[in-house]
């Protein structure tokens, strides 16, 4: 499918809505307030123009157009936020001595404890554990937990709101 066909045949309104919602989500998770005068929609526009100009080459992609655009957006945001994340992490207070976890498993337990303290319910903990175990697709998680995928969307939204705080609490554990 050519780029013109892809832009014409896909429901670009829906795809752009999903992309914009993703940018808003990323901004919240990272905790950045100053986007250097840009709006989340601007990032979506920049990515679409990069694709239209051929800077991001759709003709070589082996996935759906939506997957391709999302991949481009993820990379675009990664480059933009890289400098913010370094600055943000550097400004965080040091973790109390003696609290540094020895391994990934211990860190996971601390993260779960912090989520519980922040009011996460069992559904949120279950979904978070799936993420940590590399199960990151809502449909897969729904199947594993025996829930409707719509429920997983709702749980994910609740969990997403807790991510900025979780990051500030344990972000310095490396």
């Amino acid at each position: 499918m050519t780029l013109e066909e892809a832009l014409h045949n896909n429901d670009m309104n829906d795809i752009m809505d999903s992309m914009t919602a993703y940018v808003y989500g990323r901004i919240k998770t990272i905790g950045v307030k100053d986007l250097e005068g840009k709006t989340p929609e601007d990032f979506v526009g920049e990515v679409l123009m990069k694709v239209a100009e051929g800077e991001r080459d759709w003709s070589k992609a082996k996935c759906s157009f939506k997957d391709f655009l999302f991949g481009c957006l993820k990379s675009h945001l990664y480059n933009f936020f890289k400098s913010f994340e370094q600055k943000y992490e550097a400004e965080l207070p040091d973790i109390e001595s003696g609290a540094v976890p020895e391994n990934e498993s211990e860190l996971k337990q601390i993260a779960i404890q912090k989520l519980k303290e922040d009011g996460a319910d069992q559904d949120e903990i279950d979904v978070f554990e799936c993420w940590i175990e590399d199960m990151d697709k809502p449909a897969e998680i729904a199947e594993l937990l025996g829930k409707n995928v719509k429920e997983i969307y709702n749980i994910t939204k609740r969990l997403e709101r807790k991510m900025p705080k979780l990051q500030t609490q344990i972000i310095k554990f490396v």
């Binding site: 013109e4 914009t20 919602a21 993703y22 929609e41 694709v51 239209a52 999302f70 969307y153 490396v174």
Partner: protein, 131 residues
């Protein structure tokens, strides 16, 4: 947070927005965007510009290809002519174009218009480098 856990969270949220249904996305946008009318206007503008740019590039590539094939036919360059012959022979509806000597610019456009321009340009450029 360890990079690994942080990346896992990022990947999970990426997949959530990639897969989430229309209603979930709509609610998410309503929570974040104050002026949805302005947002819709901006979205239309972005899409219009992207489509216009893609069409402009498409037309430029088409003309670039046509000119390369015309030049090849004029100068009897083997590889581009072989590519064109292959395209004509691969499609029965192009029987009229079998005689490449009399082929016009419009005919070439008809033959290549549905093909992958990027691939064709790459094939031709590869051949140019060899000569």
């Amino acid at each position: 947070m360890s990079r690994e856990i942080k990346n896992k969270i990022d990947d999970a949220l990426f997949n959530f927005y990639l897969e989430a249904d229309k209603d979930t996305i709509k609610v998410s946008l309503q929570e974040n965007i104050q002026n949805l009318v302005e947002y819709e206007k901006k979205k239309k503008k972005i899409l219009f510009l992207a489509k216009a740019t893609a069409n402009r590039r498409h037309n430029e590539s088409l003309l670039q290809l046509v000119s390369k094939f015309q030049e090849a036919l004029l100068m009897n360059i083997e590889k581009p002519i072989a590519i064109l012959k292959q395209l004509v022979q691969g499609n029965p509806s192009f029987a009229l174009y079998r005689n490449l000597d009399k082929i016009s610019k419009e005919d070439i456009i008809e033959i290549i218009k549905d093909k992958n321009f990027v691939e064709l340009i790459e094939q031709l450029e590869e051949d140019e480098k060899k000569h």
